[in-house]
Symmetry: C2
Subunit: 371 residues, 2 copies
Amino acid sequence: MNSRNFFWARYQITADSRAHAEKISSQIATEQSVEMPVDAVPESAAKFIAIFELAKQVSEKRWITVIYYPKPIVDGDRTQFLNVLFGNISLKSEIKLFDVDPGYLSELFAGPSFGIVGIRKLLHVPYRPLSCTALKPVGLSVSQLADRAFQFSTGGIDIIKDDHGLTDQSTATFDDRVTAIVRAVRKGEQNSGKKTLYFPNITTSPLQIYNRFQKAVELGADGVLLSPQLTGPEVLHDLAQEQILPVMAHPAFSGTFVTDPLHGITPSFYYGTLWRAMGADCIVYPNARGRFLFSENVCNSINSACRSDMGDIKPSLPTPGGGIDRDSVSRWMKQYGNDTIFLVGGSLYQHSAGLETAAREFQNVLLDYEK
Amino acid sequence: MNSRNFFWARYQITADSRAHAEKISSQIATEQSVEMPVDAVPESAAKFIAIFELAKQVSEKRWITVIYYPKPIVDGDRTQFLNVLFGNISLKSEIKLFDVDPGYLSELFAGPSFGIVGIRKLLHVPYRPLSCTALKPVGLSVSQLADRAFQFSTGGIDIIKDDHGLTDQSTATFDDRVTAIVRAVRKGEQNSGKKTLYFPNITTSPLQIYNRFQKAVELGADGVLLSPQLTGPEVLHDLAQEQILPVMAHPAFSGTFVTDPLHGITPSFYYGTLWRAMGADCIVYPNARGRFLFSENVCNSINSACRSDMGDIKPSLPTPGGGIDRDSVSRWMKQYGNDTIFLVGGSLYQHSAGLETAAREFQNVLLDYEK
């Protein structure tokens, strides 16, 4: 085997014995490459059959298996890469994708175009943790949303993103909304004396999304929000490679890939490694102790995957949200460290003194980090 | 409540008591609409909060709850519709989407452009079940794949689709492959005296897919194969609405939505109802008793959803595969009935007398249906 012609992917499988684990491994290798009985594969295609190596038994019923996929079956198509990794076997059970050959990820993906350093440059914030909030709720008018953006930027928030449910509703159409909010944020910056970035949500039909991205650029947005599992994951890569605006990835509609502990993809690989490789500068995920499921260990593992050395692929900013409020930011900041965006939504809106004060208090917690 | 301004979605949830079930229902309603604490929603947006009705307890811990979503939060955006149905709650656990207001599906989606009757017209086959096979494996040259297609069409197969892992690999690029296979299939038709449809796989980056679709049209393909969960589901709708070629949908990368019995989306709603509404003329799913998980009940429920009355939305052809071989076709045909495409792959390739004979024997089983 010439290892340069293969890339590996590591899975956890569930099996009763070594023989059973080998059988499952062999089935995965065949299913995800030639997808036909091995005895019917013509000799000329034999080298396209993936091969496996049973790595180890990790508990009574769990085994780690490594599948070596021939690179020519992907041949540079990133959507086909996802299909090879977890296409048909998504329909089986108790197969969990752990990670993939990082060398191959670097061959196939270019990673974020801005990354941690790039986002910090846009904000002129070299070191401290970053703040983010979401414009919401859906249903407000353009002027109501713009007024909220003005208050948040006046209070000094680093990044304001649209709620991921704001699309092109007639209550606040995309063009009118982005135009008004960009203007409001620029006005707020004059009050705060600092930079605030605005990331509108461009998630919509995959065939229309490039137009919406271009529109965001034209209207002066500072970045975009995208839900890759709704648009097709490779959109993330294609937009990042434009190298015009940073992309923040949102996990809407992706949960079933990561919520079953025995089947799917680990959150650290899916959000941290894969979305980063595909080009997400900022990666939103549901924080522990909030409305969602992830444990602190899972969150730590996503953070590590976002920031670890991946050669030429720049690090991304983990963006925990959905479980962080004004009072707990300080605690999470100590745990997650400076290269993190803290996404706080609901509790700012609940502040009795209004959004500007709420934003300023939130921002002050982050400024404390440097003291 | 003016019911014309809402659409309903029905979920199964897991709860310890009625009060707990009401709490979960309320959380879903808020999460999937305004996504913020209800006490912080401005009065002008209050009508955009979804509401719930706890329908019934179905077993000790399972409850059915109905969420009524205000239509303006979707406002015609089909990708946003998926986000509202199962965006953030995909990241929770034990929430299973059962079905959605069929009247609203008809408002939002146009369904297949060909449907069962349209596909039968293309094939000049008014009544009997239909046959399908897959060109494989990846790695073969254009001439090898074209030769297989020639043998299958000479043997009389109704539909030949690409394996869903054939994209634009240099071993058989998209343009060369489709050109050669279209020619081979037309030649085979002269031997068989009957029509054979060829559906190349156009799945690739969402931003490039429309070009590949157009190329398939230009090169004379009879339909296309698409994996909606790899391309972004709404691509299915957009291509179907071109009304040029039938679309066959493949379940690659979609399995985690349907494999957890307590969390995700039911297979009958996801594949049967939703993909049909979005425009799939033929819907591939993994058949029972094969390499995958679905029970016969699940398969029957998908078939029903494909064919049931949905008003203006045409019925789709369920296309069970991955668990059907030459010997079992007859049994499945009796069970699933005539409005079914039987997808048989591996066992044709294993036939000792070659592909043409294998295809002819397979076809003869279907012809027997009319006797």
